[in-house]
């Protein structure tokens, strides 16, 4: 094994050497370069395009851009979401630096927003399987209870599937719900849902952009198998004070931002709270009146431009779910994250982003009755230090950096008066360190190549005890490790390769190869987000999950990027997929490793995407045809079986229509093949108990799922500085009774052995209304 790793290292370093030798190819054109500021803030994703041509680019995360042009005179358009576009006449005979500032335009916000993504980024970038979601797309899509929800909107994208109606969990290209890395300003979030998955923790007012990597995550990111969802929070304005908010049926929210020192520093604070429990105060019964059922979250961000070359920001998130029924039962838990980021320009070619990141997730359940008193605590804390360098020479960008992280896992501690002493699972202590290098390079005007390598190592430290088990799951040996002593380590080498071949000005063919690994695993007792779920690291017998993926895509835009379309195919091979022996107790089981099973999954699919970016009617259609199967010794007789979310067909249609400047309507329609489920094919009786008889895992299908949601927004006339709108949405417009679960019960008491199937449907037609304002 060590020999294989050594050989792999040699190969990797040889490859790195080749990369360094190769990327000294430069074109001979003139370079137009500079930065674009939005009200004084440097911003990524600003479109820079040469009018009348297909030449264009986007600013990077430091607001910088560069375009290679032949000598001549050009009209260059700079545009971004909600900001007035600007066209500059530029004559270029040598390298020219051009810095531009754009200003916000509220009146045209919606139109500008929808056109913001209209340039040919999807065609020109080397990214494959990457989806962007802008703030306004998020706001215009109708969702459950009228709460703008990035996780639910992202489920309307190709290759992304919901993990259950109303839930925020999602699966990407056949992966698991725990195989998605969710980052808010770089900080990992370990439970992205409020109220068992009903709402995501991401407040729409504080979200600037969501970017989902499902096919080829960059070398700078890793740690999860299937995808990375990067959520960027909004910077407060450096120029003016603003307040945005909304009052809805079940929640209200308020966001305030503005300069701390004009043009120099800004703040943003966004808060949200549900108030279902406030209605309970109207109840006659004191027990119900005293019940607490709510969630709240708080986002904040502070930005300071130290000077032209340094910018420091702090962003934080704190959220809690609270349910308390008198003093008898209660759950409380949530996430807290903090990101301190320093961005520095090192000379004219290199930028450095330094991050110090903290993330914490806790869950607490209390039961306190005359018969049972119990207190269960679980949690995970994570501290990260990360350095990202980016250097640009002409058409070549070199990104490199590293990361060191520490993890404290608290898988569970149960205190109860029923037992003499508490039951607790051993805490786990782990660390990861990674180095990465990535090169993005244009070979002429037709070929764009991005290749990189990520090397990481995951360490598990003591204090810990490892066990050896026999076939009966009995402990036969143990090794005790002292505090700080190395228990195990898991090195990973993850290559990345993206190739973009520009077939014409409006089309390209892309290829991506990627390998990802995962060393933190969610021990999930159910398909819902339960407070009893907990995270555990790779350990003694818990092996890292590994995935290899190949994606191929054809991207084509029409009518000057009015329409963008793509056809992507992918194949994923996933190893070490965790499962458990039948009947394994996942709750506070110190010897869970004895019951682990390792399976292999594969997934392949075809993803079609057509989006209309401009005009009164905008929206998109996404369709996924896919298959995902799993094989695991000890399950289904070791034969391949479809995973639960193996939905052959998955279709989403999203349409947004501007009836007038002030009146907008939108609708979504989703359809998918029913989940793969296991039903009994016979029954028998043992000791008086009825026993269901199964012959295969997931051999049946739930009924197909489809649903339409609709929404409309009326924007009132602006009074002084105040803009407001009334938003009405309807979830499940035609009241489709989709099956959430099927169970069986006797037809009648006199004939207990004759059963009928009962379908549980979750959400009927649910209207919602909210009043939103901004000033």
């Amino acid at each position: 094994m060590r020999t294989v790793i050594t050989e792999m290292h040699r190969f990797v370093f040889s490859l790195l050497l080749c990369i360094c030798m190769v990327y000294s190819v430069f074109a001979q054109d003139c370079l137009l370069w500079g930065t674009v500021s939005l009200d004084g803030q440097k911003y990524p994703g600003v479109s820079v395009g040469v009018v009348g041509t297909s030449i264009g680019t986007f600013t990077d995360e430091h607001g910088s851009y560069s375009i290679r042009l032949n000598p001549g005179t050009y009209s260059v358009e700079y545009s971004f979401v909600g900001y007035e576009s600007r066209i500059e006449r530029i004559t270029i005979y040598t390298n020219v630096k051009k810095n531009v500032t754009l200003h916000q335009s509220y009146i045209e916000l919606r139109k500008v927003v929808v056109t913001s993504d209209a340039a040919d980024r999807n065609v020109s970038s080397s990214e494959v399987g990457t989806q962007y979601l802008q703030r306004q797309e998020l706001k215009l899509t109708p969702v459950l209870f009228g709460e703008n929800d990035v996780l639910k909107t992202i489920q309307l994208m190709p290759g992304v599937k919901s993990a259950g109606e109303g839930g925020g969990g999602f699966v990407v290209r056949g992966g698991g719900t725990d195989q998605n890395l969710l980052l808010i300003d770089g900080a990992p979030v370990y439970n992205a849902s409020h109220m068992l998955g009903m709402f995501s923790i991401f407040n729409g007012d504080a979200v600037e952009q969501a970017k989902l990597y499902k096919g080829s995550m960059p070398a700078s990111l890793g740690g999860r198998l299937s995808s990375v969802l990067e959520i960027s929070s909004v910077d407060g304005s450096l120029e003016d004070y603003h307040a945005t908010g909304g009052i809805g049926l079940i929640s209200s929210r308020l966001e305030v931002d503005g300069p701390l020192k004009k043009g120099k520093s800004s703040f943003l604070v966004a808060a949200r709270r549900t108030y279902v429990d406030l209605f309970l105060k109207l109840a006659r019964d004191t027990a119900i009146r005293d019940t607490k059922l709510n969630f709240y979250d708080l986002n904040c961000k502070f930005v300071n431009l130290i000077n032209d070359k340094h910018k420091i920001s702090f962003s934080g998130y704190f959220g809690r779910d609270v349910f308390k029924f008198r003093k008898m039962f209660g759950t409380e838990g949530g996430n807290a994250t903090a990101t301190l980021r320093l961005r520095s320009l090192l000379g004219s070619k290199t930028t450095l982003n330094s991050y110090l990141i903290y993330s914490n997730f806790t869950s607490d359940i209390q039961l306190n009755t005359e018969i049972v008193d119990a207190h269960l605590e679980t949690g995970l804390s994570n501290l990260n230090w990360k350095e990202d360098f980016s250097s640009r020479w002409g058409a070549t960008t070199l990104s490199y950096g590293g990361n060191v992280g520490f993890y404290w896992f608290s898988p569970g501690r149960l205190t109860t008066g029923m037992l003499d002493k508490p039951v607790h699972l051993s805490r786990r202590y782990a660390s990861d360190a990674s180095l990465y290098v990535s090169v993005q390079q244009d070979y002429g005007s037709r070929v764009k190549l991005e290749y990189g390598l990520r090397f990481s190592n995951f360490f598990v430290f003591g204090p810990a005890t490892t066990y050896t088990y026999n076939e009966e799951h009995e402990i036969t040996d143990s090794v005790v490790y002292r505090r700080g002593e190395l228990v195990n380590y898991f090195p990973h080498v993850e290559p990345r390769l993206n190739v973009n071949v520009r077939l014409s000005g409006e089309s390209s063919l892309k290829l991506a190869l990627t390998r990802t690994t995962q060393d933190v695993h969610l021990i999930q007792s159910s398909t819902l987000n339960m407070p009893t779920d907990y995270w555990m690291p790779s350990f003694n017998k818990t092996e890292p999950q590994v995935c290899s993926q190949i994606s191929l895509g054809y991207f084509r835009n029409f009518k000057e990027n009015m329409f963008e379309s793509s056809v992507e195919v992918y194949y994923k091979d996933m190893r070490n997929q965790l499962d458990y022996e039948n009947g394994t107790n996942l709750f506070l089981n110190e010897n869970l490793e004895a019951y682990l099973l390792y399976g292999r999954s594969y997934s392949y699919g075809l993803e079609l995407y057509l989006k209309k970016n401009v005009g009164n009617l905008t929206g998109w259609i996404s369709y996924t045809l896919s298959k995902t199967e799993k094989k695991c010794e000890g399950i289904n007789n070791g034969i391949w079986f479809p995973v639960r979310f193996d939905r052959t067909h998955d279709l989403s249609i999203v349409a947004m229509y501007d009836i007038s400047e002030r009146f907008h309507v939108s609708a979504t329609w989703v359809y998918s093949t029913g989940d793969a489920v296991t039903f009994p094919v016979g029954k028998y009786w043992v000791d008086g108990e009825e026993v269901s008889y199964y012959t295969e895992r997931n051999g049946f299908r739930m009924p197909a799922y489809h649903r339409m949601d609709a929404g409309m927004t009326y924007t009132f006339k602006k009074k002084k500085r105040v803009e407001s709108e009334l938003a009405v949405s309807v979830y499940n417009l035609y009241n489709r009774k989709n099956a959430y679960m099927i169970y069986f019960e006797s037809v009648d008491e006199e004939n207990p052995h004759e059963l009928q199937a009962i379908k549980v449907t979750l959400f009927p037609l649910i209207p919602s209304v909210s009043w939103n304002f901004r000033f």
Binding site: R644, F679, G682, V691, R697
Partner: protein, 259 residues
């Protein structure tokens, strides 16, 4: 889940059907020092949705082996497919069952541990009982039963609760959380009336029986949120479904008092 409960509804699926698998032999067997009986029921699996006609297997040869004893079980004339024998079955003993039918040979082993006794019981009216209303004198009661685990080894228990003769409660546990400790093992809430009688059985079983009942409890339902459905883990060898288990037991009865 709370919100789900508030907005969800149910509907009978008239067009639902599942295929029926080829029927298989089922062995439902136990031997007990508490009842001093050994009982084996032989049948075939039935269609899942409509199993009004269960096929029983008659004419089999059923033999029980323990220590130096070989005991044949005889089929009851009036109950086809049911084979029984009575004896003083010793605890701390391994039992082996052999079943021969016209086309199958099924064997199984089970160890009968020493019995563990209940310590005490009590009845409590929980605080939340006021949320239950009834036209008669029924109300919610919490019935508590306590035992002390011997602690000398890993022990496995199956607990059954009966109101009069109908089963109210079944559960299975090992002593992983309370080895050697006193523990409140039954904490169930029932709708009962004064003078109702509840009887709890504490069956001491072996690991294989525990695994069968545990997997039956946790994994056998097709509508569980908590696990993928599967067949319970059987200790039978041969082409058959079911379980053979030996158990010792203790019982305790509680009469619900007047308020």
């Amino acid at each position: 889940m709370i919100v789900c409960a508030l907005v969800s509804c149910t509907e009978v699926m008239d067009d639902f059907s599942v295929r029926t698998a080829e029927s298989r032999l089922v062995v439902d067997a136990h031997v007990s020092s508490f009842t001093q009986t050994a009982t084996v029921r032989l049948s075939k699996t039935a269609p899942f949705l409509n199993s009004t006609d269960v096929a029983y297997v008659s004419g089999a040869t059923v033999v029980l082996y323990y220590n130096e004893t070989v005991l044949s079980l005889n089929e009851i004339d009036t109950i086809p497919g049911t084979y029984t024998a009575e004896a003083v079955f010793p605890e701390n003993t391994e039992y082996r069952l052999e079943v021969r039918t016209a086309d199958a040979l099924v064997t199984a082993k089970s160890y009968m541990p020493a019995s563990v006794r209940w310590d005490s019981t009590s009845v409590v009216i929980p605080d939340f009982a006021k949320f239950y209303t009834s036209e008669d004198s029924s109300r919610l009661y919490s019935v508590l039963a306590y035992m002390t685990d011997p602690g000398n080894q890993t022990n496995y228990y199956r607990v059954e609760g009966y109101k009069q003769d109908s089963v109210k409660f079944r559960s299975v546990t090992d002593d992983g959380y309370f080895g050697g400790q006193s523990v409140q093992l039954v904490t169930s809430v029932y709708v009962l009336k004064p003078h109702d009688t509840l009887t709890f059985y504490l069956k001491s079983i072996d690991k294989q029986a525990y695994e069968f009942f545990n997997t039956l409890e946790t994994s056998n339902s097709s509508s569980s949120f908590f696990s993928a459905p599967d067949n319970p883990t059987s200790n039978l060898e041969g082409d058959a479904l079911g379980l053979f288990y030996a158990y010792s037991a203790d019982s305790v009865s509680i009469v619900i008092p007047e308020d």
